[in-house]
């Protein structure tokens, strides 16, 4: 029943989004009224009251000591002197702080990884096969604008739990495969059925300048090729529109257009109805995105925008919203204390946390995205943005109401108001306190059991420190040998062998991948950290891959970084 209603709602939504809110409320309430009768749900009451808490209704509107009542998934009452219904389970809120559930403005949560790429040993035949496979699946590079995240979502999983553990209740999620990575969905981060998670879909069309490609051939293989590919695809969509229109108007004697679901999926974006979510962190990428948006009269959202503050005036003038990454550049964890770094790098690290404040000052509307940050760092870095000049109200708006409005659900989410979806976070302290913890979390009115904070992994020693000498020697011996690693690429997992040796005082090594072998250079092994550089040939261009791994016993995890392509995590072990 509820399932049916919701899918009906979604179908209606795509055509008449303005009616969605009302319909959603009516139908969901109806469905819930049938399903959740008090007698059937004795263990799980459907009404809650959070009592005597400080309630942050919305940015700047605070009830010092009040109560929020939620029932059947909605906020039914909020205020200072509220009569608590007799059947509501009471949550003592004294000393706590209630916020509207936080919204993460861009994630890949719940989207399963692509099927694995042919793994195998590093022989020529396999490399050829892998390239052929990559060419046979152009979607891996080109993406598919008709792919709907809402239909791919798998509920649950550790990353969803971790995201919730800091108070994020809602997230925009999108596939990240290919240049046209498909249509995103706004989901609530609880529930067993994918269809029930979706708050709104489709929200936007994800477009990225990185092909997300790991190895293998095919056009486009460069940044400028990617720009040309995006432009050509929109021109193709325009031609498709013209052909279909002509056919619909004059059915006789007119060639019937070939049905093309990808070009059809681009039409709402071309009409300016569906925003195009460009993933663009550098101001160069943002400039590219804005040019494409101008050329095709698209409605852009800039996602990432780490360096967007450099274009704050332009973004404001064009009234372009931003989903701002707080994944600020970091000093590498494995660098010695006295490591010399270029001023440009130091400046970027000092400037980027000020970016949010600069955007707010310019009047750019933005939400936040965690990027590749761990959820705990997501909130901590928002706190850093506040320490760097962003007002608390602006920060809270970005985390709640701005995001809700940007994704078209301002009526349902983003503040603690009667009739809104009961996504609530109860914190032990103000959001801005670094040690604030989540006491309670409600998603769609249901209390969520919180995952315990994972213990922080012990900090590894810095290389080149005398006292670490013997430890380092042991770690070094442990690192040598043959490792079997699995690299997570957008095309799926790839099996890679890493060989580390020591000849006299020098390290040597090699990387064996399905697409070829590469010798390692600049190898450093110290304090459980491995770093090395391999020249990998991709499409006839040598790419300097930097491998950084952390060893714990017999296992290793880390990242392979390919400039211009991306960073790919790996895990692995050393077979005995």
């Amino acid at each position: 029943m509820a399932n049916f209603s919701l899918s009906l709602v979604r179908r209606i939504t795509t055509r008449r989004p303005w009616r969605f809110a009302a319909l959603f409320l009516a139908l969901t309430a109806l469905a819930l009224a049938f399903l959740h009768t008090p007698t059937a749900q004795l263990d799980s009451p459907y009404a809650y009251a959070i009592k005597d808490a400080q309630i942050i209704v919305s940015a700047g509107k605070i009830i010092r000591k009040g109560t929020v009542v939620i029932r059947n998934g909605f906020i039914t009452d909020v205020g200072e002197n509220i009569k608590i219904p007799a059947d509501a389970r009471i949550i003592e809120g004294a000393g706590t702080f209630v916020y509207a559930g936080f919204i993460d403005g861009y994630t890949n949560l719940g989207i399963p990884a692509a099927p694995p790429q042919t793994p195998g040993s590093a022989s020529g035949g396999n490399r050829q096969a892998a390239i052929a496979a990559a060419q046979a699946q152009p979607d891996a590079t080109h993406g598919d604008p008709s792919e709907a995240a809402a239909e791919q979502i798998k509920p649950g999983g550790a990353s969803v739990e971790e995201e919730r553990s800091v108070g994020v209740t809602t997230a925009l999620t999108s596939s990240k495969q290919g240049i046209f990575a498909g249509q995103s969905a706004l989901i609530n981060l609880a529930g067993d059925e994918a269809a029930k998670l979706v708050v709104r879909a489709p929200v936007s069309l994800t477009v990225q300048f990185s092909t997300g490609r790991f190895f293998g051939g095919g056009y486009p293989g460069s940044l400028m090729g990617t720009v040309a590919f995006i432009r050509q695809t929109f021109y193709d969509a325009i031609h498709y529109r013209d052909e279909v229109e002509r056919y619909n108007k004059t059915k006789r004697g007119v060639p019937r257009p070939e049905s093309d679901k990808k070009l059809a999926a681009l039409q709402p974006a071309l009409r300016g109805e569906m925003p195009v979510f460009f993933i663009a962190n550098s101001d160069n990428d943002i400039r590219r995105a804005l040019q494409i948006a101008d050329e095709f009269k698209l409605k852009p959202i800039i996602g990432g925008a780490l360096y967007g503050y450099r274009l704050a005036a332009t973004l404001k003038a064009k009234n372009i919203p931003v989903v701002l990454s707080v994944d600020f550049p970091q000093r590498p964890s494995d660098w010695p204390e006295d490591e010399e770094e270029p001023l440009r790098v130091l400046r970027a690290r000092a400037e980027t946390p000020k970016g949010a404040a600069l955007l707010a000052q310019a009047g750019v509307k933005f939400a936040f995205t965690s990027g590749s940050l761990r959820p705990a760092d997501f909130l901590n870095n928002i706190r850093r943005a506040v320490e760097n000049g962003l007002s608390k109200d602006d920060a809270l708006k970005a985390l709640t109401s701005n995001a809700a409005e940007l994704f078209g659900v301002g009526e349902q989410l983003g503040t603690i108001e009667t009739g809104k979806i009961a996504n609530l976070v109860v914190l032990s302290d103000e959001l801005w306190a670094r040690d604030a913890t989540v006491k309670h979390l409600f998603i769609d009115g249901n209390p969520i059991e919180l995952k315990k904070e994972p213990p922080t992994p012990p900090r590894t020693g810095k290389p080149g420190q005398g006292a670490q000498g013997t430890k380092d020697a042991a770690a070094e011996i442990n690192a040598l040998g043959e490792w079997e690693l699995v690299v997570k690429s957008p095309q799926g997992d790839m099996a890679v062998k890493l060989l580390l040796q020591k000849d006299g005082n020098n390290f040597s090594g090699a990387l064996h991948t399905p697409l070829g072998d590469a010798a390692l250079r600049d190898i450093s092994i110290s304090g459980g950290q491995v770093r090395a550089i391999a020249s990998i040939n991709i499409d006839g261009q040598a790419i300097e891959a930097t491998l950084s791994g952390t060893i714990a016993g017999n296992s290793m995890h880390g990242t392979i970084l390919l400039p211009q392509i991306g960073a790919f995590d790996f895990t692995g072990s050393k077979p005995k």
Binding site: S123, G124, R127, Q128, I131, A132, Y219, P220, G221, S222, L223, M224, G225, V227, A228, R231, Q232, Y235, D236, H239, E245, T250, V254, N284, R288, Y307, Y309, R310, A313, Q330, R331, P332, S333, D334, W335, E340, E341, P342, L343, R344, L346, R349, A350, E351, D377, N381, D522, R531, S535, N537, D539, G540, Q541, A542, T546, S548, G549, T550, L561, P563
Partner: protein, 515 residues
Amino acid sequence: MKKVDAIISIALALLLSFATSAQSLPHTATQVTPKSNAAILKQPLAASAAPPTNAPAAKELLITNATILTASHGTIKNGSILVRDGKIAAVGANLKATDANAVVIDATGKFITPGIIDCHSHTAVEGAINEGSLSVTSMVRIQDVLDPYAVNVYRELAGGLVTCNILHGSANSIGGQNAVVKLKKGKPVEEWFIQDAMPGIKFALGENPKRSNNLGANVTQRRYPATRMGVEETIREAFIKAKDYMREWQEYEAKKANDPQAIAPRRDLQLDALVEILQGKRYVHSHCYREDEILMLLELGDEVGFHVQTLQHVLEGYKVAKEIAAHQTGGSTFADWWAYKLEAYDAIPYNAALMTQRGVITSINSDSDEHARRLYLEAAKTMKYGGLTEEQALRQVTLNPAIQLGIDKRTGSIEVGKDADFAIFSAHPFSVYTMVEMTIIEGEVYFDRKQDLERRVALKKEKEELMKKEREMRQKGHMPTGRPAQPQPLPGAIDEELLDHGHIKPETQEVRNDQ
């Protein structure tokens, strides 16, 4: 590793020096003396985040007492140049500014040349310079991937370089669209493009396009073409397609007024660029070495109906200079750089001079971020090899490339009405002891050696302070360092010339970016 980092740091310091002090320090260069206190040079900001200054520029700039190498009409001793609104207003002796706020640069003992022009550059490109996946990539554009933060741009400014023809690489028979820019570091990149420069495109012949088809040592599947014959056929076929496409559009334009069912043909960005070539709206800049392939392309152009604007590298151009001149095609070559591969063996340092003497408009280019910093010395070599005159030699890196790029109406020589693009040298630009002291683009100073040296102190201090602040943050635990190192990209990490000179092992790089 450490050493490399240190070098990069110094280079970056050099670069960034411009940015900080442009805001904080008054203009202190001794040779610049504003006529009144109110006049402060409109300073471009260099590297980073700061938006360009909006301070109104002094309307006039007067450079006095210099030896002016005009590149068009000889050398003027003790000459002055008056600049108004970014253009050269007057050149001669004893000029006076009309604006009381004019900036005056006393250039006694200095030499001034037109801003240097490089007809073959790959500088400031973000990502790969080759879209190497296809043999015809006329849809890709350098203009989409210019990186205004590239460190090399400042280094090139320090070598008097003002204008660059930034080309796609040479992996494909028909490569991508080039961009002709002035290195206005600190300005939004949109302002770099020379708007009235003719659009262009890169072609490539010979070894590069025929060997770029190899996906790796173990792969037998290859990209067409694999021979010189195939390169010719690839270009011919592309133009046949382009002509069909052009006809399709012409038919549509003819019938759209009367036929309600007519819809525009599918716009094809790849063929659009080729149609522009056929219509004479886009220049062909073709990479080439051997005389046979040079003649092949010229004849193919005659057959298909396109003009070759410049032949790039063209190391055997001296053998077919008459034919090149007859096609009104330019030659852009190296001064004395060859033998880095088989097709570059039959080269001689007299190439530029011999082509010039046969009536070919010839230029000397860099194809390298490193050579680009001292193109004036490359030009000087044509006096030794082939006996060009001083002015002919200077034109190799000024007026001639301007003609080749179709921008000689606005730049390339010191003449009234042209853009005020200059390099000011400490000594004669062909002396090995010379240094560029100032680089001026459209009347604005983009490089000032004296200021640069002074700013290094402030930059050093800024760096120390930033490092100190970070250390404190780290101690407080407010600066997560969760991930391992991301390598700092080396500026121009893979220098094409290093590859072809064998400094990098060939197996690590199968496709040369260029040459």
